[in-house]
Subunit: 634 residues, 2 copies
């Protein structure tokens, strides 16, 4: 965590000094806003937390509910989400209060006595080191709380506007704030009064029944039928021995349970499978009582017993596999001729079963994707065309997810005798572990993702996938550090310069690149406005092949040690060496001739280039930067 | 973190439900309090945070200052302090914002060009794995903030009473609240008005010029002369390459600097040695200006240069090696005939140089020692005689510290040519590393510390030293866990039962012990009042020699799985197995026949006993428990 470079501030460094629109933020919803977010679920709150970091952008988030979410909804947190929380500064805090999954157990009917279940197997949650972050279970409400804290402590002091329901919008294509939004007060004394807000952009994060989606004429397509689960968060007494373990439990008659132990050591959630809801059900399934659910749970876990002592939350969760074909307001025929003004994210554009624990996670990644793009366009860093990449990138991710989820749900719903091999379920779980952990997203080449021409220089940083951190040693303070953990959600592009074998001071490709980055008018850094710190838009780090004690920090080129803040203090935390026995060059398959890895603000690898590829680097950013003229291909 | 066993509570689990005296806590200082703490420095705040956990104890902490500390004072945080923060729940949060020491550099005059300094060596901060916790640097103000947060979020909702200065006290020996304390308002509109508060106990944590100390007739003895340092917390520009590393810098003319990089990546502290202050100095040294300090710093670091750009704090810190001979109000001649009512802690009873970074750390351990003892006596768990152990235990710790500190300061003050070996300083630092890390405290046998009769059964848990955690595997959720990290500052005694080789279910010494603990009237657990959870006073954990997957939790004796809370939920988090490749039995030298390790609420090992030693266990607690009759030695 870096702070104090603007002078010593006594107090919590997580509370940033108010700046820009945060200095006198109006309590009341203003008439004009840069971004209006609808819905304060995971997708909306992440988008808000991201945008709140930009002092000059007015973002408001309206929520139909009168206050914060208190109970229920999702609770599975993939490692990728925890990685994202790390970028927002609360991974450790939420981990400390969450349940951590290290193993999962699979229970099935005893072949001798099929009316009894027996533990069939255990699977480690992450056998291959998919991530250094854990797989957690914690209520959605707490996730939202943490994002709310980040936003409230941000320079813009953003807090949700509760008690406002979105009704409709119109994209007028007129003036600076072309989206005209109608809101209705949904809580408080003035319930029912309407209000018009004019926005530059609208993000619909209003869940599965999204009105923003309807307003832009999107429809959800997919299976007609929903799958229903009886869900209960309960405190109970039981002799089922794995009650504190995530379990998939299948009984002899096909009834099955997904057991999710919860935060705090006592609470747990059970998803009792209620099967596919027939089309003409008309909500009958939703009348399944908690007693019925408990009764069925007891039948499934026979010979064990469950006595519910306290119900924290229960619901019949009904969901189908549905997806919209676009995530913004640009009709297929208009792609390329106009840029989007309205976006939909999360459950508003895709829904899927709860079994793979994806809903909240994928929704947050939607928010992470759109957040920085809106900020860069609003700040004038990037052309409006950047916004078209949101739908293009995320729609396919959602589609892949739904395909995966169907496979997983089908497997989970199978009767034991239908499996060729009793460990099929377990095998599938282990084999596809990268998926539910949230790391299968791989963006295709586009204006934001280079072509894999030089991928062999950095095999461990696949283009289009999220930058997977590894250990390095920070030279200035000799601290061993995860290189990627400095990639906070500050909206900056990152260029990791992995050096050639020369030590700093010697003539070398890195020294030449450093010179070019710092001085060339074609350098992406040249786009940084006058008066800002050299690293305000680009965080450029260097990783030498030496150990920290063999690196003379005084000899390191200045682009890696910019002067920052009003006192022009040297920023020392961008210079790294390798750690013994865990050399990042080996661990991530990096060329010993050196390589540049360009990473997006949302942590995805955008480009992999040789150290000498200054032309290609300039060209790549020419498309992304608003101001720089496009350079012809060399 | 465990919660929700009283039912689901939506919100931050760190904010505990208000209870007892916290439900309608008066804003105003009441006339009668159980404990009055004077001074909100590290010693006072830890004591307050500890006492705040007890719903039925009224604790108030008065502070002369009008508000929180903002800058200055100490900043070195030993691993033992971070371990303590872990017990209070904020180790991770403070670590995230602190500077972390992994190496220290030693600079000395270049033998060729003595006017220049050169890096003489580097030492790893913790070469031998003294602790799993880091060594940190962060301002004292932040440490106090975190303790304040713990106290404010506690069941008793304790917050400091700012703007009250302690004037005097009188131990009347009358009534329930025998200590009569006079306070004067030191801030606010009513400055100067006095107030009498009657307390059961008073803790003087009012720093080096303690008035509580004077009031109980203690005097500080030690060196007449003080040592002075010019201290500055600054933002600066420099070409000194190790500016982000802790450094001991010795120049050719004997001038020396201790450089402490600070939190946030830019700020650093320099202690410039101003030497021993002659007795008749009359404060002249305190007039040393920041310019003079900077000037001297520049001379010492030649050929490097330092340009200060912003001064956050500076001071001339003058301190001697001083110690009182008692830490409470009981005169030597009265020991054994009356119990103490007034205690002094921290700088009020011992002062030492800043060089070993001890002041804040040892002061906090004073507070950790007295806190639970006061609570146990006030709650009637323990006899008043328990309170006499505070002075007995902590005075000797302070004495040892001062002896160590003298040696270290003398070494640091030596001119390079006075060393036999140029690496003497470095060698001493590495050799004695356990001391400054805070782990050399070893309480002698007493009513709280058993005799080492059975020490060989657990060589890695020396009696009287703090319980050094090791990895285990929690059976219920298969999480690998540091066993000791469950030892939160909840005032409970802990009994770790390391099992014999039998698995649960079989007849075994552990099964017998479990039976005795749960049912015998002589069991320490029998002291737990009716109606409370079985683990309210004693946290009894079992660690089997098996791996978690080989332990049947249903077969584990019930004393290790008590039913807790209003819903009588099974507490599953007390049953552990070993982790592969890091077996706690090997790592801590535990007997394979099993062993009981008894640990105090402040984390020190109180007793090591064979599994069969129920008599010795009963006898040990007979002295500590107020109610149980003393049992004759078997
Ligand atoms: C009742 C319920 C139970 C669920 N249970 C599970 C579960 O057991 N397991 C699981 O994995 N997932 C579950 N989910 C799904 C999971 O919570 C979602 O996948 C995830 O929350 C998606 O995040 P989101 O931000 O896209 O939408 P949501 O979290 O649904 O957030 C949408 C927000 O928009 C608000 N909103 C809606 N319409 C408007 C409007 N017109 N104007 C203003 N605000 C509006 C809503 O109040 C809500 O706060 C459940 C969802 C619901 C609603
Ligand atoms: C100005 C200063 C600079 C220091 N610099 C360093 C340093 O550079 N390095 C280092 O290692 N250590 C330094 N120390 C020492 C270090 O801060 C102490 O060792 C540590 O704070 C001891 O903790 P404590 O709780 O015992 O006392 P303190 O932290 O001194 O706390 C005592 C508290 O009691 C309050 N108080 C005092 N008298 C009364 C009264 N009559 N009534 C009510 N409240 C009262 C004070 O305002 C203060 O808040 C410094 C101390 C001071 C005062």
């Amino acid at each position: 965590m870096q702070f104090h470079h603007h002078g010593y501030v006594s107090g919590d460094p997580r509370i940033k000094p108010a700046a820009g629109v945060g200095i006198n933020r109006p309590e009341e919803l203003p008439e004009e806003v840069d971004v209006l977010i609808v819905g304060s679920g995971p997708a909306g709150m992440l988008t808000a937390a991201q945008l709140s970091q930009f002092p000059d952008i007015t973002t408001r988030i309206v929520e139909r509910r009168g206050g914060r979410l208190e109970i229920g909804q999702a609770d599975g947190i993939q490692a990728r989400s925890v990685e994202t929380f790390q970028a927002f500064g609360f991974a450790e805090a939420i981990t400390a209060e969450a349940y951590r999954i290290t193993e999962m157990a699979f229970w099935r009917p005893d072949t001798e006595n099929p009316q009894n279940i027996v533990r069939g197997g255990r699977a480690l949650d992450d056998t291959v080191g998919i991530s250094e972050f854990p797989h957690l279970i914690v209520n959605q409400a707490r996730v939202l709380d943490y994002f709310a804290e980040v936003a409230a402590n941000s320079p813009t002091r953003l807090t949700p506007d509760f008690g406002w329901e979105f009704q409709n919008l119109e994209v007028t294509e007129e003036g600076e704030y072309p989206v005209k939004v109608t809101l209705v007060r949904s809580a408080g004394e003035d319930t029912g009064t309407t209000r018009i807000v004019h926005a530059k952009y609208v993000v619909g994060a209003d869940g599965a029944r999204s009105k923003v989606r309807s307003a832009i004429g999107c429809t959800m397509a997919g299976d007609q039928a929903n799958h229903a689960w009886g869900v209960m968060d309960v405190l109970a007494s039981t002799d089922f021995p794995d009650i504190r373990l995530k379990c998939a439990i299948q009984s002899h008659d096909g009834g099955s349970i997904l057991l999710i132990p919860r935060e705090g050591g006592h609470l747990f959630r059970m998803y009792v499978d209620l099967g596919v809801v027939p089309e003409g059900d008309n909500g009958a399934v939703r009348k399944t009582s908690i007693e019925q659910i408990t009764e069925q749970a007891n039948q499934i876990i026979h010979p064990y017993k469950l006595e519910v002592r306290n119900v924290a939350w229960s619901s019949v969760y009904e969901v189908g596999h549905r997806l919209t074909d676009r995530f913004d307001d640009v009709l297929p025929e208009d792609i390329g001729t106009r840029n989007p003004r309205v976006f939909i994210t999360g459950d508003a554009c895709h829904t899927h079963s709860a079994k793979a624990g994806q809903g909240m996670n994928v929704s947050m990644q939607d928010g992470f994707n759109i957040g920085w793009k809106l900020a860069h366009v609003l700040e004038g860093r990037s052309p409006e065309s950047l916004l078209a990449t949101y739908s293009a990138e995320r729609q396919i991710v959602a589609k892949n997810l739904i395909d995966f989820d169907k496979e997983w749900s089908t497997l989970m719903a199978k009767k034991p005798e239908e499996f060729e091999n009793p460990s099929d379920l377990e095998d599938f779980y282990v084999r596809t572990a990268e998926f539910p952990a949230g790391f299968m997203t791989e963006y295709a080449p586009s204006m934001l993702t280079g072509t894999p021409t030089h991928q062999e220089l950095a095999t461990g940083f696949p283009l289009g996938k999220r930058f997977k951190s590894a250990m390095t040693s920070r030279v200035c303070d000799t601290n061993p550090m995860h290189l990627g953990h400095h990639a906070t959600a500050d909206g900056r592009w990152r260029i990791y310069v992995f050096a050639d074998p020369a030590a700093p001071g010697a003539e070398s490709p890195v020294a030449e690149l450093a010179q070019w980055l710092a001085t060339s008018t074609e350098s992406p850094l040249a786009a940084t406005p006058q008066g800002m710190d050299l690293d305000a838009w680009f965080d450029v780090k260097v990783i030498y092949q030496q150990k920290h004690e063999d690196i003379d920090i005084n000899a390191v080129p200045s682009v890696f040690k910019p002067e920052v803040g009003p006192f022009k203090l040297t920023e020392y935390e961008k210079v790294y060496g390798v750690v013994e026995d865990n050399d990042i060059f080996d661990v991530r398959g990096l060329s010993r001739d050196g390589v540049m890895v360009v990473v997006r603000p949302d942590q995805y690898v955008a480009n992999v280039l040789p150290l000498s590829a200054t032309d290609e680097l300039a060209e790549f950013f020419a498309q992304i930067h608003a101001e720089l003229p496009k350079k012809a291909t060399a």
